[in-house]
């Protein structure tokens, strides 16, 4: 009986998790089914969707890149949207799918990693981070069934293994590790085709950047929507950020 006073301290293994804290203490802030309409499809043309993000491995780590366009139905919703978010010093998230929930998820994920790091005084392993993101995507399943799917790419530098690694997800939170490159979003097929031709083992950072820009350009060029941008604007709007490299 007396044990109950302290034993919960050991059962509370999720104590360093920010999303658990948010759900417990401030459920109204937690992005989830409650904040979405309970039934019926969401008006997809009213919600901006990201187009293309990609990640590829190179000699010293991983590069993530995305174009800067978001579409809502057949309209360009934004030409300046950011899709690559720094999750922490060694990893990043590239978002595709419904931009609103995806950005919210990226923000929650960033806070989650930082919170863990501050409370525990240590970083999560790359597998731990990837797993956590998968759980967050799974919690979005109900919204995904209504057309507000979020399917990010997660990539980072694995300090234990000393290599860059990348993961893609499906709407149920399923996590699939890719070895060399992958792309997500409406232009992902063209980007992947392009990466398939251009990607080489042990590329330098500059080569890898060039390859990712080229892949994004071809993805932009093949956009079928009437307002698809010309490739040159697509390429110039591409922004690449090195999310992880041991030299940093």
């Amino acid at each position: 009986m007396n044990d109950q006073r302290w034993q919960h301290l050991f059962r509370d293994y999720a104590d360093s998790s920010f999303s658990e804290l948010l759900r417990r203490d401030s459920p109204h802030l937690f992005p989830g089914p409650e904040t979405h309409p309970p039934s019926g499809p969401a008006p997809v043309e009213a919600v901006p969707h990201g187009t293309t993000v990609l990640a590829l491995r190179y000699r010293d780590g991983v590069i993530m890149a995305g174009d800067r366009q978001a579409t809502a139905g057949y309209q360009v919703a934004s030409r300046r949207i950011e899709k690559i978010f720094k999750a922490d010093d060694l990893s990043g998230v590239g978002i595709a799918g419904a931009a609103g929930p995806a950005m919210e998820m990226a923000k929650l994920f960033q806070t989650e990693l930082e919170h863990y790091e501050k409370v525990e005084g240590d970083n999560l392993s790359l597998d731990g981070k990837a797993n956590k993101l998968g759980q967050m995507i799974r919690m979005n399943l109900q919204a995904a069934m209504m057309g507000l799917a979020v399917v990010p790419i997660f990539a980072g530098f694995d300090e234990k293994a000393g290599v860059g690694r990348l993961f893609k997800y499906d709407i149920t939170g399923g996590r699939y590790e890719e070895t060399n490159y992958d792309s997500q979003g409406s232009g992902s097929k063209d980007a992947r085709d392009s990466l398939k031709k251009l990607w080489k083992r042990h590329m330098s950072r500059d080569d890898a950047l060039r390859v990712s820009l080229e892949a994004l350009t071809s993805a932009c060029a093949r956009q079928s929507s009437p307002t698809a941008r010309r490739p040159e604007t697509g390429a110039s709007a591409c922004r690449c950020r090195i999310t992880s490299a041991p030299s940093r």
Binding site: D15, F18, L21, L22, D25, S26, L29, T111, K118, G121
Partner: protein, 230 residues
């Protein structure tokens, strides 16, 4: 039936305060200095894993002396406060003042309501953003008393002596290495011993850093910074 005993409120508060002070005075001290590039926190702490100084948020650091489990609880509560506030509003809305007030309320409540007060003192420091604002250092005592300090602050066993020493020796705008040497001298002011880099835990809120300003100084870098004088 035994009579319920009566203790006057004055006596009870006095006893509690004495109890808390005794606990704190047994512990080692922490010095905080405003330096040219931010705020420096120097703690005497032989453990490399159990921290006394840590990061709360982008520009905010925490330091605690006294009983480890008690200030560790306060530290985690502070991180939660800051992260939830930053998540629901924006990162810029998280301030040391709000956090220091929360600590003051918490410690004040514990002091008056619990049988055993917390044997801790905590410090919340926020480095200025640059454009005209200035650094903020709040020192919160075991009973919830809150003070805002300028230039330097000290807490722990020898806090009074350290404060007297710093009053005479502190100068504004010191670079990191000189400030660190001053801080170490202040920590040893009452003791006949020297502190090596293995006995110290040092961190800075570095204004030059991007977003998260908190940075620990590892022992190797520490010996270099201290070695310049020896």
């Amino acid at each position: 039936m035994p009579l319920p005993y009566y203790v006057s409120p004055e006596q009870m508060m006095k006893d509690k305060a004495e109890y808390a002070r005794k606990g704190i005075s047994r512990g080692r001290s922490i010095v905080t200095l405003e330096i040219r590039d931010g705020i420096l926190l120097v703690a005497e702490n032989p453990s490399t894993l159990l921290h006394k100084v840590s990061e709360i948020y982008d520009r905010i650091a925490f330091a605690g002396v006294g009983k480890y489990n008690e200030f560790e609880n306060l530290r985690i509560a502070g991180i939660r406060h800051a992260d939830i506030k930053g998540y629901s509003y924006s990162r810029g809305d998280v301030t040391a003042k709000a956090l220091a007030n929360a600590y003051s309320q918490a410690l004040g409540n514990i002091f008056t309501q619990d049988i055993k007060p917390f044997e801790v003192e905590v410090l919340v420091a926020e480095v200025a953003e640059g454009n005209g604002s200035r650094n903020e250092i709040y020192h919160i005592l075991y009973d919830g008393t809150i003070e805002d300090e300028r230039n330097y602050a000290a807490m722990g066993g020898q806090a009074d002596e350290i404060r007297r020493f710093l009053k005479d020796h502190f100068r504004e705008g010191l670079p990191l290495d000189e400030a660190l040497q001053l801080g170490v001298r202040a920590l040893t002011v009452t003791q006949n011993k020297t502190l090596s880099e293995r006995d110290l835990e040092v961190a800075v809120l570095d204004r030059a850093k991007e977003r998260r300003k908190f940075r620990r100084i590892p022992p190797e870098a520490l010996s270099q910074l201290l070695g310049t004088q020896r």
